[in-house]
């Protein structure tokens, strides 16, 4: 052993380098919030030591939905149909429940064409990390409003949005998602902690990430511009995530911090700021969303969490092995079964 070892390449707990978590080169605009989210996803999966071969990446259609190509190259990915990623993810997870699935959607992909599937995905609490890269507009088709655009927000061409927005977090809480968060693509620390919590969580993690569109929605009058978001972001508190494979070394003041034990043994420490906020209570969460909304602000952080809620796969009472890999002996009943059915029809 040398006294002065050469600087080793940084590896994670399963001895993979960060390059294993990268994807193809992004084709999105320079400065797009989505690229920052991609970076956080890469970091979170790397730091959590998730084997990319155990990950499924899914998306619908839109700028956001292109991004799964930009992270986790060793993972299988599926760029599916506009607004229909939840169903594809559902099928894939049913086929192989041992995979960790991450779906990336946009505000149009979720709130407009995909609202039906979104609603039922939340209702099922399918084990899936569902990220909305939310910029309030359609990028690929050149800047039309999406259903998350705020009432009165101004488009680049001067048109003012005259419909109220859909609050995807409120919907998700109402419908049954068991981890609901909102974050900002520019808040590196918070988004990383939220993503890690989502990786540790079993059930639907619905994360609405405000992600400004630098090309079509970053101007004066827009409520999804970088400057507007920075001015109106109201973090619920500081989030510290301690994965199950690390010791809890930090001491937290009792009373000011809520501790949540996650499904996989990880811990979330939510240090309260101004208000006494309990993210495990639906009514509190909904009231907080409405109140911040009334003030023209938006709350970010873990808005709601129910770590032990039954998820959809659990409710199906499936065998332990992935359905996709069951051998014929277990999926094709024997001749006696056919004979029995035939006899019943005579």
């Amino acid at each position: 052993m040398s006294d002065a070892p050469a600087p080793a390449k940084r590896t994670n707990r399963i001895n993979l380098e960060i390059t294993q978590y990268r994807g193809s080169k992004t084709t999105l605009c320079a400065g797009c919030g989505h690229n920052a989210i991609t970076e956080r996803i890469i970091d979170a999966f790397f730091e959590m030591g998730v084997d990319p071969k155990r990950v499924l990446k899914l998306s619908g259609i839109g700028c956001s939905s292109k991004s799964p190509a930009y992270f986790l190259n060793p993972s299988h990915g599926f760029n599916s149909v506009h607004g229909r990623m939840p169903s594809v993810a559902t099928g894939a997870i049913l086929a192989n429940k041992n995979m960790l699935a991450i779906g990336v959607s946009g505000d149009g992909d979720t709130g407009a064409i995909g609202i039906g599937q979104f609603v039922h995905l939340m209702r099922r609490n399918l084990p899936l990390i569902y990220i909305i890269e939310d910029n309030g507009c359609y990028g690929l088709t050149k800047g039309q409003f999406s259903p998350t655009a705020d009432l009165g927000s101004k488009a680049k061409n001067g048109v003012v949005n005259d419909l109220p927005p859909i609050d995807t977090c409120a919907l998700a809480i109402e419908l049954g998602a068991s981890l609901v968060a909102r974050s900002f693509s520019g808040d590196k620390k918070q988004l990383s902690a939220v993503l890690k919590a989502a990786i540790a969580h079993r059930g639907t993690s619905m994360i609405d990430v405000i992600s400004p569109c630098v090309t079509f929605n970053d101007h004066e009058g827009s409520t999804k511009s970088y400057s507007y978001v920075k001015d109106h972001d109201e973090p619920l508190g500081e989030i510290s995530f301690v994965p199950y494979f690390e010791d809890i070394s930090v001491e937290y003041e009792a009373g000011s911090t809520t501790q949540v034990k996650m499904h996989d043994g990880s811990h979330l420490f939510l240090r309260k700021l101004a208000e006494d906020y309990n993210p495990s209570d639906k009514i509190t969460a909904m009231r907080m969303l409405h109140e911040t909304n009334r003030r023209g602000e938006f709350a970010t952080g873990i808005i709601y969490i129910e770590p032990d809620k039954d998820d959809f796969v659990g409710s199906l009472n499936l065998v332990d092995e992935p359905l996709a890999f069951l051998p014929t002996e277990r999926t094709r009943p024997g001749k006696a079964v056919l004979d029995e059915i035939m006899e019943s029809l005579r």
Partner: protein, 612 residues
């Protein structure tokens, strides 16, 4: 050995001739009145007496209150298609009774609820008035239960009038109610009460009669949707996404029943996941996701659902994801007549999606084929890495058919070209998800969760290595390979069944549930008009070479189908040899009822007039 005696003409009232084991019975009731038990007992008792039968439920889109008809055909010749003429009417529904009676041919028989006074309508029919309420009051003291057993009385009446053995009716009844002794006793009382009334008060004046035969020995009675459900289970299906729609729902629902019974592991856990989706888009989305992740997956729907599935249908075609989709066809559109049958989704499904899309269709013509082709569909879907549409219909799927018992599958499952570690070593770095290494247009796919290389799945914007591209030459190359794959399909899909008469100038092409009526029509053409015919039954799309050969061998080809627009004929014109166009003629049936032989025969004879 019994030799059936058949009069070719039904006798007029009072005549003594006998029509043995060759007639149709129509029972007209009100939807929701609980007639299904009585109708199935009637059907089953004839079947148990060895007489070939078929049963068709002509029902409204309604839960209760609208008219419904159940038709039973008995045929010593084994004809099981719908018979156009009704020979024996049981008129229980005041609302339709008049129309039902007026539509009968002279000489036919009518059992009716006496207060309806139907005998006043016509003098050329044989009427049997029955005071149902009076009889039911005698056999069922509890007034609340009378509604449930009233229908069983007409079974008793028919047992007496048609000489159906009461013991067989009892056996058939016990098959349905055997576990409920109280209901059994009540219904038997009604059966006997009906029979006794007929024996004491009705004088047999119609010619129809049944006599024991031996033509159903060993056979089963089953609906096509149940047969398809069995096929799916024995094909090893593991993930099902579905959305309720008539006439498809009974397929997944029957499948759920079978799977819960026969596909639970020893520890009580399920080897399957069946999900009722939020709509048909999600149903196929789930199937595509599951198949992509390596599961055997299917959905079942009908025309409106197929419309909603169109976008995923195209994605699966281009991304080359296996899937099995059942289309239990009905007449269109969404708010059309959802409980009436048709074969009218062919053209739509053959090219189901936008862009250049060609879909593989299997065309089952019997319950046995519903079972067999369900298994074939999964093998073909995984072999060809595309959607396989199984095109059944309401008549096949929801009605009751006789069949030889199904055979246990002997072939192992064909899971297609899925990379394993050995294949990865063999192909090495040259593996590309969309690379045609075998010359059949079918690439090797890798499945998530295995120790094989991953790839990114998209529609058509990819090169052989599954990398994103918009290059014109890559796009053309990919489309041409998909065409090669479609050609490969021709050699592995079910081949047509050809019955060629070398002396025949007339050829008939048909498919699916028209088959039984075509067989009967060919007999009529030969026996009544001296016309010999050959017959080719198409069992899958794309068409195989022998379809063109068959057309070449005959002067005139009648394409028989259950739609208005001659959809199969048009597909033949699109894909076949153009010079054949002048030979192709249509016989079309599209009134929502199952096709019958007489309509086919009349349709062919009308056009054959030109040849004389």
């Amino acid at each position: 050995m019994s030799v059936p005696v058949t009069a070719t003409e039904p006798a007029s009232a009072g005549a003594q001739s006998v029509v043995l084991n060759d007639f149709s019975i129509q029972i007209a009731t009100v939807n929701g009145s609980g007639s299904q038990t009585a109708n199935l007992v009637l059907l089953r008792s004839l079947f148990q007496m060895g007489i070939p039968v078929s049963g068709k439920n002509l029902f409204p889109s309604n839960i209760a209150g609208l008219p419904t008809w159940f038709t039973i055909r008995a045929s010593h010749r084994g004809y099981v298609a719908r018979k156009k003429e009704i020979d024996f009417l049981v008129a229980m529904n005041a609302e339709t009774a008049k129309d039902d009676v007026m539509s009968l041919e002279p000489g036919r028989a009518v059992v009716y609820d006496a207060p309806l006074k139907l005998d006043e309508l016509r003098s050329d029919l044989i009427f049997y008035p029955v005071p149902f309420d009076k009889i039911v009051a005698e056999v069922c003291p509890d007034a609340k239960l009378r509604r449930l057993v009233k229908n069983m009385i007409y079974d008793g009446i028919l047992a007496e009038l048609l000489s159906i053995e009461l013991a067989e009716m009892e056996k058939a009844l016990s098959k349905q109610l055997g576990r409920k002794p109280k209901a059994m006793a009540l219904n038997m009382g009604a059966l006997e009460g009906g029979k006794k009334y007929a024996a004491e008060h009705l004088t047999k004046r119609d010619p129809y009669k049944v006599g024991r035969l031996d033509k159903t020995t060993g056979q089963i009675l089953v609906e096509g949707n149940a047969a398809a459900a069995m096929g799916c289970m024995f094909a090893g299906v593991t993930v099902v996404g579905w959305y309720p729609i008539t006439p498809s729902s009974s397929l997944p629902e029957t499948l759920i029943g079978y799977m819960r019974k026969y596909r639970m592991d020893k520890d009580g856990k399920a080897t399957f996941a069946i999900v009722q989706a939020e709509d048909e888009i999600a149903a196929l989305g789930m199937v595509v996701g599951a198949s992509w992740a390596g599961a055997r997956s299917m959905t079942s729907t009908s025309g409106p659902g197929i419309s909603l599935m169109s976008e995923f249908s195209g994605l699966a075609y281009y991304a080359e994801v296996p899937a099995v989709v059942f289309d239990i066809q009905r007449v269109g559109p969404s708010t059309g007549l959802p409980t009436r049958t048709a074969q009218a989704d062919l053209l739509f499904v053959a090219h189901n999606s936008h862009g250049d899309t060609k879909q593989v269709m299997l065309l089952p013509a019997s319950v046995e084929e519903c079972y067999q082709m369900s298994m074939d569909a999964f093998d073909l879907a995984e072999r060809l890495q595309t959607i396989i549409y199984v095109m059944s219909d309401l008549d096949l799927g929801m009605n009751t058919w006789m069949s030889q018992p199904f055979k246990y599958p002997e072939k192992p499952l064909d899971r297609g070209k899925v990379l394993d570690e050995a294949k990865v070593r063999e192909l090495g770095a040259s593996w590309g998800r969309y690379k045609d290494v075998d010359g059949d247009g079918i690439p090797w796919r890798s499945v998530p969760g295995t120790n094989t290389p991953a790839f990114f799945t998209r529609g058509s914007g990819h090169n052989e290595m599954a990398q994103y591209t918009e290059r014109p030459d890559d796009y053309v190359k990919n489309l041409n390979r998909l065409n090669r794959k479609f050609e490969t399909a021709k050699s592995i899909i079910p081949q047509p069944i050809v019955d060629r008469d070398p002396a025949a100038k007339v050829g008939i092409i048909a498919f699916g549930s028209s088959d039984f009526a075509v067989g009967e029509s060919r007999d009529q053409l030969r026996e009544e008009a001296g016309i010999k015919t050959s017959y080719l039954r198409i069992r899958a799309y794309p068409f195989t070479a022998n379809v063109d050969e068959f057309i070449r061998q005959h002067d005139r080809i009648y394409v028989v189908e259950q739609n208005r627009d001659a959809q199969m004929l048009k597909l033949l014109l699109i894909d076949g040899e153009a010079r054949h166009a002048v030979k192709l003629r249509s016989v079309l049936h599209y009134n929502g009822l199952p096709i019958d032989a007489r309509s086919i025969t009349d349709g062919i004879l009308e056009q054959e007039k030109d040849q004389r």
